[in-house]
């Protein structure tokens, strides 16, 4: 007995607590995050409080909150915020509707199901740069699909969608075209988990297709839809490539979202302090929007 007790105590001492174990396995990730997230974030914060000049000799000057105040007083910032909101709302709604439709269609038993699934998934594999080029060609009057169709019908009209009125919608369509297949596939995976007997019961209860969708299909999808709405929101708010290639923020500044404006301010005008300050407002908007989504929708889904 005298020899067993110290051994047990020794073994207990070696055992890690849950917190220690979590820390141990999480440490590499934490270190990685410090390197790739915390450092750039801290550096951005430093830049946001400074005026940085590269020409005529590199020099910096502490300016306090001046950059933040300038951002808030800049009408261009508010215009770009409005464009970002308009684009994000349209893009997310289109993405989710298209994704849901793709999932529902692919869930129906059809011949060559595998081929369809592959084809439908392809847009997600296309780079945003490529998608931007394609939609620019499709939307322009000069080279566009509507022009080609009208010409085929013998009409000489040149419908132009690259205008201040419609450019955000063209971008939203392009963006949702690339994102919707991924949503569609997660919806499909979710649909496959719904027991068939629930549909049998719905049939016995003589529910209409719409009622069946609403009461049987939709409830298990709601959490997936919430997650992808959040993801699509974040991706839309920070989208850059598609806008750069498709419209370059134009005509004028009609499609200049905050990310595009940030690029212009920081990398063309090399106004890094001001750009960094603006990027923190974008970060706040993204966090605010996703938190709101969680509070309004996500928390309820979690409780269910």
């Amino acid at each position: 007995m005298a020899t067993i007790a110290p051994q047990k105590a020794k073994a207990r001492r070696r055992e890690l607590t849950d917190g220690q174990f979590a820390l141990m396995i999480g440490l590499p990730v934490i270190l990685l995050l410090i390197v790739i997230v915390a450092y750039p974030l801290a550096y951005s914060a430093w830049m946001a409080f400074h005026r940085i000049l590269f020409f005529g000799g590199y020099r910096t000057k502490f300016v306090g909150f001046k950059n933040f105040a300038t951002v808030l007083n800049d009408p261009e910032f508010w215009w770009c915020t409005w464009v970002t909101i308009r684009f994000t709302v349209e893009s997310v709604i289109l993405t989710m509707l298209l994704g849901l439709a793709i999932g529902l269609l692919l869930n129906r038993p059809t011949r060559f199901g595998g081929v369809w699934r592959t084809l439908v998934f392809l847009p997600w594999c296309v780079s945003l740069y490529g998608a931007g080029l394609m939609f620019a060609y499709l939307a322009r009057g000069q080279t566009g699909l509507p022009t080609a169709i009208l010409a085929h019908l013998g009409m000489q009209n040149v419908p132009d969608f690259m205008t201040t009125r419609t450019i955000v919608e063209v971008l939203a369509i392009g963006s949702s075209w690339t994102m919707a297949p991924l949503v569609g596939f997660f919806v499909l995976a979710n649909l496959k988990t719904i027991p068939k007997r629930l549909y049998d019961l719905a049939a016995i209860d003589q529910l209409t297709p719409l009622e069946t969708f609403w009461n049987v299909t939709l409830p298990p999808l709601r959490f997936t839809l919430f997650v992808f709405t959040s993801i699509a929101t974040v991706l839309s708010m920070k989208l850059f490539d598609l806008i750069f290639v498709l419209s370059a923020g134009g005509p004028g500044d009609a499609s200049s979202t905050l990310t595009y404006q940030l690029y212009k301010v920081s990398f063309i005008n090399l106004n890094l302090g001001y750009g960094a300050a603006m990027s923190f407002f974008l970060l706040l908007f993204i966090i605010g929007l996703t938190m709101s989504l969680y509070l309004i929708w996500g928390r309820r889904e979690k409780q269910i």
């Binding site: 590269f54 020409f55 005529g56 000799g57 740069y129 620019a136 939307a139 322009r140 009057g141 000069q142 080279t143 040149v158 132009d160 969608f161 690259m162 205008t163 201040t164 450019i167 750069f244 498709l246 419209s247 370059a248 134009g250 005509p251 004028g252 500044d253 009609a254 690029y263 212009k264 990398f267 063309i268 005008n269 090399l270």
Partner: protein, 447 residues
């Protein structure tokens, strides 16, 4: 001297001369010696030609050139690379960007090349002037062109009952003719230089003001020179733009075109006039590439010049690297941007041959091969002289391009001019805002 003594002397001389054999064989020793790579980054224009030129250098001169193209906004990406002190030795730049990079302390001027005197002697004076800053030649000739020479679709022009003798002599006459052509049933008489690239609408404005006789900013002090006088160049340009925009003869989508779409649009044959690159006369006259091939000329100089100098240089960076590697950078830049080991302007000649890229070197532009090449590209034999005349007289906006803030002003100009059209802006207010911006940039950089 005895035969035996002569033989010994000859052998000794031969042995002594052996290490310089290569130098005798070629005009300059451009062989790489450090064994280290030279990083060369280019934009996406004919990368296959660049790749093959680089391979030739690597094969002939045992170079280790690491070449890659950069996608996206080239000047901005290069600027970030220079700031980050990335592996970058040779790059492209427009003159205004070159000035900015020089002010950032990132450029090794071409003055430092052993062949600098020969290079400068061979350079056409307007380009030597445009590419010199702080008394130093910044880089070597990649291409030297006229942007904004007015391409004219002769098929549509003649169909409207007009001939060469009706060619407009200045911008005002050109605008008058646009409406006359429209009255004759031409739906889209002009494709203006309003496209969305960073050298689109802003350069379109600068070239018109410059051609009308105002330098936009003073070449020496960089103070703004535009006035709100209704007969002044800036005012007249904006007034014509406003009228054209309101007439709805130009589709709004032009503001979002990139250059490729802009070229395609004119090549479609829908338009009569368009300010384009001088070397794109070849593109417009190439069957299969253009609907109006064989029918595109440019407006000759009568009362004023057309367009502005659009050029690019090969720049060397001055990042920290071993001296031997810097020597290799210079050798490669000299080989690529001027003459190869055999004393030939191989790369410039090849650009002329493949893409009709004009060069800043007299030896290239005055060669019979160049004359033959241009004559092959123009619609009519007489157009060759017209092209050269326009090319040689093209102005350069020194006041706004040979200054550190050039790119920032260009970005401002692009936004301001697009908004001026889209929001029916006030002409005087717009000119005032441009002048204010120049003043503010001068203040920012202590000019």
């Amino acid at each position: 001297m005895k035969r035996r003594e002569f033989g010994t002397l000859a052998a000794a001389l031969g042995l002594a001369a052996a290490p310089f054999g290569r130098a005798f064989a070629s005009v300059a020793d451009l062989e790489a010696a450090s064994g280290k790579p030279v990083y060369f980054r280019g934009w996406q224009f004919a990368p296959e030609v660049v790749q093959s030129n680089v391979k030739r250098y690597n094969d002939l001169e045992h170079g280790k050139i690491d070449y890659a193209t950069v996608t996206g906004d080239y000047p901005a990406i290069m600027e970030q690379s220079l700031i980050a002190k990335a592996d970058l030795d040779v790059l492209y730049a427009n003159p205004s960007t070159a000035v900015r990079y020089y002010e950032g302390g990132w450029v090794l001027p071409a003055e430092t090349l052993p062949a600098a005197a020969e290079i400068k002697a061979d350079m056409l004076p307007q380009f030597l002037d445009a590419w010199s800053y702080d008394g130093k030649l910044l880089g070597l000739s990649y291409f030297a062109s006229t942007r904004g020479c007015v391409h004219t679709n002769l098929l549509a022009y003649n169909k409207a009952g007009m001939t060469d003798k009706d060619f407009p002599a200045d911008w005002d006459a050109l605008y008058d003719q646009i409406y006359a052509l429209h009255d004759k049933g031409v739906a889209t008489p002009i494709l203006p230089h309003w496209f969305g690239d960073w050298y689109g609408i802003s350069w379109g404005f600068v070239m018109e003001v410059l051609n009308r006789g105002n330098p936009v900013a003073d070449p020496t002090t960089h103070k703004p020179t535009m006035t709100v006088d209704p007969n002044g160049p800036a005012y007249k340009t904006l007034a014509q733009w406003k009228k054209l925009w309101k007439s709805k003869l130009v589709p709004q989508e032009v503001l979002t075109y990139n250059e490729s779409a802009y070229i395609d649009a004119f090549a479609s044959g829908r338009y009569v006039f368009s300010p384009q690159q001088i070397y794109d006369v070849q593109t417009m006259n190439t069957p299969g590439r253009s609907q109006i091939a064989g029918h595109v000329t440019i407006l000759p100089i009568v009362k004023q010049t057309w367009g502005l100098i659009d050029s690019a240089l090969y720049l060397m960076t001055n990042r920290k690297r071993p001296e031997a590697q810097t020597d290799d950078v210079k050798k490669f830049a000299s080989w690529y941007g001027f003459k190869d080991g055999d004393g030939k302007t191989f790369v410039a000649d090849r650009w002329m041959d493949t893409h009709m890229l004009f060069s800043a070197y007299k030896s290239v532009m005055n060669s019979p091969a160049t004359e033959a090449r241009i004559k092959k590209a123009v619609a009519r034999p007489g157009d060759y002289e017209v092209l050269l005349d326009v090319y040689k007289q093209t102005p350069f906006p020194v006041g706004i391009w040979r200054v550190v803030w050039s790119e920032e002003f260009n970005s401002f100009l692009k936004d301001t001019l697009s908004k001026f059209l889209l929001n029916d802006g006030d002409i005087a207010d717009t000119i005032k805002s441009m002048n204010d911006q120049i003043d503010s940039l001068n203040d920012k950089y202590g000019i």
